[in-house]
Amino acid sequence: MISLKIDNKDVKVPEGTTILEAARKVNIDIPTLCFLKEINEVGDCRMCITEVEGRRGFATSCIQKVEEGMVVHTNSPAVIEARKMILDLILSNHHRDCLTCIRNGSCELQALATKLNMTEVRYDGVKNEHEVDDSSPSIVRDFNKCILCRRCVATCKNVQKIGAIASCERGFASCVSTVGNNSLNDVNCTFCGQCIQSCPTGALHEKDSTKQVWEKLKDPNSYVVVQTAPAVRVALGEEFGMPIGTNVTGKMVTALKRLGFDKVFDTNTGADFTIMEEGTEFLKRLKEKDNLPMITSCSPGWVKYIEMNYPENLPHLSSCKSPHEMFGAIIKTYYAAKQKINPEKIYVVSVMPCVAKKFERQRDEMKENGLYDVDAVITTRELARMIKQANIEFTELKDDIFDDPMGEATGAGAIFGVTGGVMEAALRSVYEISTGKELKQINFEEVRGQEGIKRATIKIGTEQVKVVVAHGLGNAQTIMEEIKQGKADYQFVEIMACPGGCIMGGGQPIVNSKTRATVNVREKRAKAMYTIDEKSKIRKSHENPALKQIYREFLGEPGGHLAHELLHTHYEPRKKYNI
């Protein structure tokens, strides 16, 4: 243990602790901007500077490790003055249009300006002017708001191992850019949206689709159906100041109804369909030893990734559409017929924790009879904005339940939003369907948890099935290299593009750097998901009564002809760069 003094408080911390962490331990806050725990610890922005007695110049507290007997001043007049000057300089090159900024109220720069009492910009000067890149369906890049913390670059390169954006140019012209400053649409970006999650300002954000949704809600000729992904309900509350990991399913349904959607459905049911189809596909492929391992295909960022980076391995991908696409297809066929509504009038909105879903929605493969399965995708954040815009006091809402006939989903569908959840849900059904026996232990702890790559061997009947779960594209790359080099002996692989799974998706409420460093957000959101599962009456997809009914009345067999037409798709190699 190391003893030191921070602002006259005695602190004892383990060796290797940074000044920043040590200060936080005794509730001394040091402002940061470029710091993102374990992802971007570079000390570039200089906000976290502190004074260390006996040292020339300031110490960078986010990197500098504590030393025995160190005496640190985090708020001396000199430090405050220097910080103010640095923030002043940052603001001098920032488009300060806070009122109309998408991050108004959730911006780390704005919060810092308030904290440091910035009532003027003293060192104003020329600003860099950049064109806004909004040509991708998922992500908008507005470099005019970038403060060059490079958190996005570190996330894209080191966590996701993509490197679609990088630090470019130098000096005052420095910027974060794609190759040749091309649109994200034309480079190797997977639209996972993790860059948005790491951005402290409004420089990176989702492409807003709320306008189209409002239009349709106003249109009396449209039948607007909304479905919500499993991960949305455990995070939406954060946008309204509720604790991280609060399950707000009931309030969310009420709010959606208040917004004027004609029907509010649960994508969890779509997830149950996915399990039926994917499980059936897996059993068939296992039996025929056809393109094993089979890899899940519900994460659109992951799908784009494999199309670009491992096109030769595409046959390993399950042919299943993702849950909301399956569900959209069923709404526009089975449900439309049953309710006698012209499918052309149905407008399906998916509320997703994901920005890549916006890209997935408009893929040519996601069309039936000229109609898209899903017409609009809005993220959790966009839904929150709509609720606020409609002046709904979210926290005060009473609970409501999803509409029938597809309202009730299983616990298996619920855990789709967390890493290992698809695998677990699939295993529950695959086991019972193939063995005909009831599972004694319904929880598959082996595939749960936050470890980047989880490997397990599951006994199904006489078969030993080797499975692996990877989340985050960096980990996906590791698995893909194993497969490519023929070193993989797994039969079933689950991959989600975002670290932690959909609960940490690019469309989820943004957690600021300090909270990320001090609260285990992943664990809290995951826990909420598993609690929903535990509390569900039915916890296996194949036992979902609504689903059984639809197969009986409409689809026929899982994996059958109609199911294939509506619920399955195909993938094609994709060029990394269209420049």
């Binding site: 390169k157 993509i162 490197g163 679609a164 954006i165 990088a166 630090s167 470019c168 140019e169 130098r170 850019s177 794609t178 190759v179 040749g180 480079v187 190797n188 990394k576 760069y577 420049i579």
Partner: protein, 192 residues
Amino acid sequence: MLIKLFYINNKNKERRNVSNYCVSIKNEMEENKVENCSCMDEKLEKELEKILEQYTNVKDNLIPILNEVQIKYGYIPQIAQRKISEYLNIPMAEIYGVITFYSRFTLKPKGKYAISVCLGTACFVKGSEKIMERLKQRLNIQEGETTPDGKFSIDSTRCVGACGIAPVFTVNGEVYGKATVKKLDEVLDSLE
């Protein structure tokens, strides 16, 4: 005073990395400044493959490779960026980041007459700023730009090592020392 900056030394060709550095700078650059057409791309790709073959595919070879491509073509074509990206397994954005960081690497071909004014301190003190201003005024372009007809481009350098004859400017690597505005005008007149 017309003098040549790069004394081209052709011996010891077998050395890796540096081997191709001093050879051939000017002639090859001109040879490669052919008009763009699609058949060029294929030729380019083949040539690039040959360049890449000489290097192991480790990341620290990125800058030596870029140096070689820059010298050979006078800029770093996009095809080269893609080829290098594939070869070294580095995302294109990162390569672009490296190219735009170092001032010797350029993304656009230079003019037929690449004029460079030394703005090192010795030359500055002797008035090279005036030479640069005059040059920009005459050609009506800024530093780093090429005239629309592709004839001239302007750059600045920091010290070419000819401080003894400051201020200096160079045209395609040839040094003009003890430069004055008048001398610059004369040189430009002779090139037009």
